[in-house]
Structures are given as structure tokens and as C-alpha cells.
Symmetry: C2
Subunit: 339 residues, 2 copies
């Protein structure tokens, strides 16, 4: 419980009000032994063997509460998923908040509960944090930055360098749900059934790797969606990818929203999906393993990897009518603040 209904500048200044925020809100919701030391750094006695992985993500989503999640829940999922895509198991997270003076304290409580829920689902403690408050009009309710430490277990090697012509591209479920949900909210469209796919993917990754399939690399198609993620990966790996339009899973609600708003679902962010690059002979096994998990029910094989020939686009869509259309990276002017 916090005494004030609205966040004051003093809540971010390190004095008594900051203390009230920590003791009245953060500690009760996020309690764990490392966080409760409230020292400058969280110090682990030990972490599992393997290669440590470190990542960070800033979250400025507007609106900060949406069907299927909120800023807090999203900000933990996003960072946990960045670790998972490297094959890392999460060890500890940090959470920094930049709040706008006047923020409704109940909204802040909602973000904290969301972050706590995501951390619990992902099985990782939030071990350190920081809160700053900026004057009214110098922020936008709340921004969150979540960083994560994980460990890649010995023997695991996920890397774009492993990708070879002949490999297949698999997605774990329907595309664009998060981006479509956010944009629908923003345009005042309340489409029935539209809901962010936001979820922590650690368990899904473990299932994928436990299947024995030769998974080369994993990525989460967040900002810029599947097309941007696959374009970047193909470019780094020096290969070409052909996506099969008819194989790409897109929910009818997402497709309808895209048609209304003039958007392309392949460029819409997912926050609870993965893209797996896998040896051709193991693609089916991987899809089956993913489908056995609640978050992977809609898994599908969506593309093939080819050798990159000079002057050809690294990513093309093989359309329903039999043509091929290059998918370029967007400039980025079109899709701000979906995460």
C-alpha cells in the first residue's frame, strides 16, 4: 500500500518517499532474498554452469494496458524471451522504471503485479531495480527497462552461423497478435478475440531443444515482426529465405485488423512466439514437439533456406497464386511504440 493516489516527483528521489514505494509496493509483490537486501547490486552465491548471457530491453508501449497484458508483464516476458532465444535459462532480472509525475498509483500497482506474474511464470527472480520520476509532461505514464542474466547450459550452441541452405524455418504460432492488439487499441477498435500473444517462452525453448531436433538458431519476432526478424537473420547468416504465404499462420481477427488499418501481419510484432531455424530432416519433429506445449499449439513450418545468389533479395514470399515477392525491411516509420 502506498499513501499517495498519484506518483510524486519525490517518489524517485531516493528519500523517504522512494522508501515507501519500495517497502509498500515493490518488496511485497516481488519479494525474494536477493531483492530484499536492497543493496547497490544483487550478488548471487553462484549461478549454474555454462556461458552467461546478458540482455536488455526498453518498453514504452502505448497503451500500457492491453488485452492479454500490460507494460509490466510485457517487459519481463520480452527480456526473458531474449535470453531464451540464446538458449539461456534465466538466472535473474533487473527492472528499472521511469514514471511520469501524476501517474495513477493503481496503474503502477498493476504493472508491478504484471511483472511479478511474468517473473513467476518464467521462474526467475527480479533481483534489483531502480525507479525515477520525471515531471508531468516529460514522460508518458511509465517506461520500463528490463535486463536479464541467464546461462546457456554447456553443449548448447544456438547461432546464426549454424544456418545452412536446405534448413527450414518454423514458427511456434500465429503471427502479429501483439502488434495488431496494440494498434487496434490505439485506433479505438475493440475487435472481439484480439489479444496479445505476450508470454514467457523459456519452457517452449526447452521443449524444442529436448526434442532432439537440430535447431540452428532461435529468434523472437518482436519489433518489425517475422519479416524483419527473418530478413536480419538471413542477412547475418548469408542465406536466402523463401516464406510460403499459405503456410503462415495468421488469426482471422489479426487479418481483419490488418485489412482495416492497412497493415501487413508479417511486419507486426509478436511477443510470445519464436522462429526456429532447423535442419530439414528435423523440421517435422520440431513442429510436433512445439505443438505439445500450450504456447506452441499453432506451430508450423513456414519457409526454406536457400543459398544466397548475388543480387537477389535475402527474403521472398512465395505467394498463394504462385509468384514470388521480395520482403524488404521497413523504414520503421510506420509502427512506433508497440513494445
Amino acid at each position: 500500500m502506498i499513501r499517495h493516489e498519484r506518483i510524486l516527483l519525490g517518489h524517485g528521489s531516493g528519500g523517504r518517499l522512494t522508501r515507501e514505494l519500495i517497502e509498500g509496493l515493490f518488496l511485497p509483490a516481488l519479494d525474494n532474498p536477493l531483492l530484499s537486501t536492497l543493496t547497490d547490486s544483487a550478488v548471487f552465491d553462484s549461478i549454474p554452469a555454462g556461458r552467461p548471457a546478458l540482455t536488455t530491453d526498453a518498453f514504452v508501449v502505448d497503451p500500457p494496458v492491453f488485452a492479454g497484458g500490460d507494460l509490466g508483464y510485457l517487459s519481463v516476458c520480452g527480456t526473458v524471451n531474449d535470453l531464451a532465444m540464446a538458449g539461456a535459462r534465466p538466472v535473474g532480472l533487473t527492472w528499472a522504471l521511469i514514471l511520469e509525475e501524476g501517474l495513477d498509483t493503481q496503474l503502477l500497482e498493476r504493472f508491478v503485479r504484471g511483472a511479478a506474474r511474468a517473473a513467476e511464470e518464467a521462474g526467475v527472480p527480479l533481483v534489483a531495480g531502480d525507479t525515477k520520476v520525471v515531471p508531468r509532461g516529460k514522460g508518458d505514464r511509465a517506461f520500463a527497462v528490463t535486463s536479464g542474466l541467464g546461462v546457456v547450459p554447456p553443449g548448447r550452441d544456438l547461432s546464426d552461423r549454424n544456418i545452412r541452405p536446405g534448413d527450414m524455418v518454423v514458427v511456434s504460432g500465429p503471427l502479429g497478435d501483439h502488434g495488431a492488439t496494440i494498434l487496434a487499441h490505439r485506433h479505438g477498435l475493440e475487435a472481439e478475440g484480439l489479444r496479445s500473444d505476450c508470454a514467457p517462452l523459456g519452457r517452449l525453448v526447452e521443449a524444442a531443444l529436448a526434442s532432439g531436433a537440430a535447431v540452428r538458431a532461435l529468434h523472437d519476432p518482436t519489433r518489425g515482426g517475422l519479416a524483419t526478424t527473418v530478413h536480419e537473420t538471413a542477412t547475418r547468416a548469408g542465406v536466402r529465405v523463401v516464406l510460403e504465404e499459405r503456410a503462415l499462420p495468421v488469426r482471422p481477427e489479426v487479418r481483419a485488423t490488418c485489412e482495416l488499418l492497412g497493415l501487413e501481419p508479417l511486419y507486426l510484432a509478436c511477443e510470445g512466439r519464436l522462429v526456429a531455424w532447423v535442419a530439414r530432416e528435423d523440421a517435422l519433429r520440431l513442429v510436433q514437439a512445439l505443438r505439445e506445449e500450450p504456447l506452441g499449439r499453432g506451430a508450423a513450418c513456414v519457409g526454406t533456406v536457400e543459398a544466397l545468389e548475388n543480387g537477389r533479395a535475402p527474403l521472398v514470399l512465395s505467394t498463394r497464386v504462385g509468384g514470388q515477392r521480395p520482403l524488404d525491411q521497413l523504414s520503421g516509420l510506420d509502427l512506433p511504440r508497440i513494445c
Copy 2:
């Protein structure tokens, strides 16, 4: 080099403009093997033996450029110092930026150069990052969140639990320079000689510990200054501290600024000082070791630790005229946005 003179929303959207920002600005300034993989997480082959430490800090300083530093430089120093106070040597940092649409690109370049300079001084790579852009009027030029992974070498144990009545409190230099500089800028006072003390403290900590002095705990007196930091530490350790007013080092420029603005230097942030809690018999040795370092020239022994008696204030100032005055925590309403 970036093509645009001002930051656009698209620079934060994950598309082509984001790529230009990364390739045109971040990579050239911050280049290191882990960052340049540009993958979801930075994965270390290995890290030194010891206990891993994780920390995060958000920086919203206004103005973002000041005598002695800038947002970028400060944001790396602050996090490196949080690790150092745990006795941890930095292994890798992450850096997340939340930029306001319309930000002068040259200002962003300045922050990036500042962060790169601090990282180089601290001897730690910036291994992962993220940039988001919010619409004009929804941010304030730039906010930065820096997280850090470090390792506490085996055998090192800095903890408030180690503090005992009879211990001494040592500071590494004059107090309040950062806070006074920021507040002077904000009030349009251009005091000659006023300059932030902002600096990475890893080397100073190593020198302190190498002296052989029985250092119990270290803290950096940032938000809320020396009084707040010592108050918090004393409370956690269950002891009482008497600070000697005549021993507290404060530069004349800082004192003059405080008198003009009605502030108390003991509550002003430092960003390049440490507070060491040390066994009484080792206090002098520690002060001498600190004074041999460029960042510790002004080190001084400023207080003594006593047993906490029921109902007495955990922190008091023994004044020049011989009285004792309790120093309480401030509410925090008075000193926003100095870091």
C-alpha cells in the same frame, strides 16, 4: 554518421532507421566483439570465478550535459560504481535509451561518446543495448538505463552485516559536487570551479581493498547524498553513526552554491565518491591508500559507529560548536532529477 539531424520515431521501431542508428553510431563508438553480434543476448564464453553481481540504474538527469559529464558518461559511471560498491569487477554492461522524437542527433552522439569514454575508463564492454523513441512531448530528450554484470572475486565479502560498533566511516573525497553542479546549472548559476565528480570507481575500490584494511562495506552516496546513504546503511546494520561536521570535506564552491540555494551539502548526490565502513584500527591506513589514487585525494575519516540505543536517531551530526543534531532522511520532494 547518421543521415538525420533529428531523431525520428522510426529510429526506435526496429526497422531500417534503427539499423542506421546501430551501424552509423552505436557500433563505431562502442565496438566490441559481443556487441557486434547484434543478437538478442550477448553470450560470454566465460566470466571470471567468483560471485556474479547484477545491478541496474535509470538516468533522467536534467540538464543532460553538465560540467564534468553528460547523461551517457554518468549512466555508465553510476552502474559501474554500483558493482564496485559490492566489490564486483565489471564484466559487461547493457545500455537502453529512451529518446524523444526530435532529439538533436549531435546530442545523442555526445551521450554515446560519453558512455564509450566511461566504459573505456572502467575497462568494461557495453555488450547489449536497445533504443526506443517516444513522440515529442512524451519524453525529455533522452533517458538511459544501464545494467551491469560483475563478479565479486573469491574471498571478498563486503556487507552491511559486517559493520560493528567501533568501526569508522571514511569518504573518498569532497561531498556534493555532482548535485551542486546540476542544481546550479538548473538555476542558471554558473559557479566558477563547480564540476560534477562523476567518475568510475573500480580502481579506487581495488586500491582500498588491496590496502589490507578491514573494509566492512562500501556505498556510493548518490541520490540523497552522504546523509541518506549513511542513514540507510546504519539502519540496515542496526547501528548508530556520529558524523563529525568539522571532518566532512565540502568544496568552497559547493558550500557557496548550497548557501545560495538553501541546500544542505550532506544531502547532495556524489557520482564519483565512496563511503567506506572500516575497522577502527585500519581507518588511517585506508585513508592513506585512497589518497594515493587520483580519485581519492580528498579522502577523510568522517564518523564513528556506535551501538544503537532504543529511541535514539541512527544518524547524528556532531557540530562544530559541540552539539549533536539528528540527520533524518528527507522526504525526497526537494531534489529531483540530479541523476
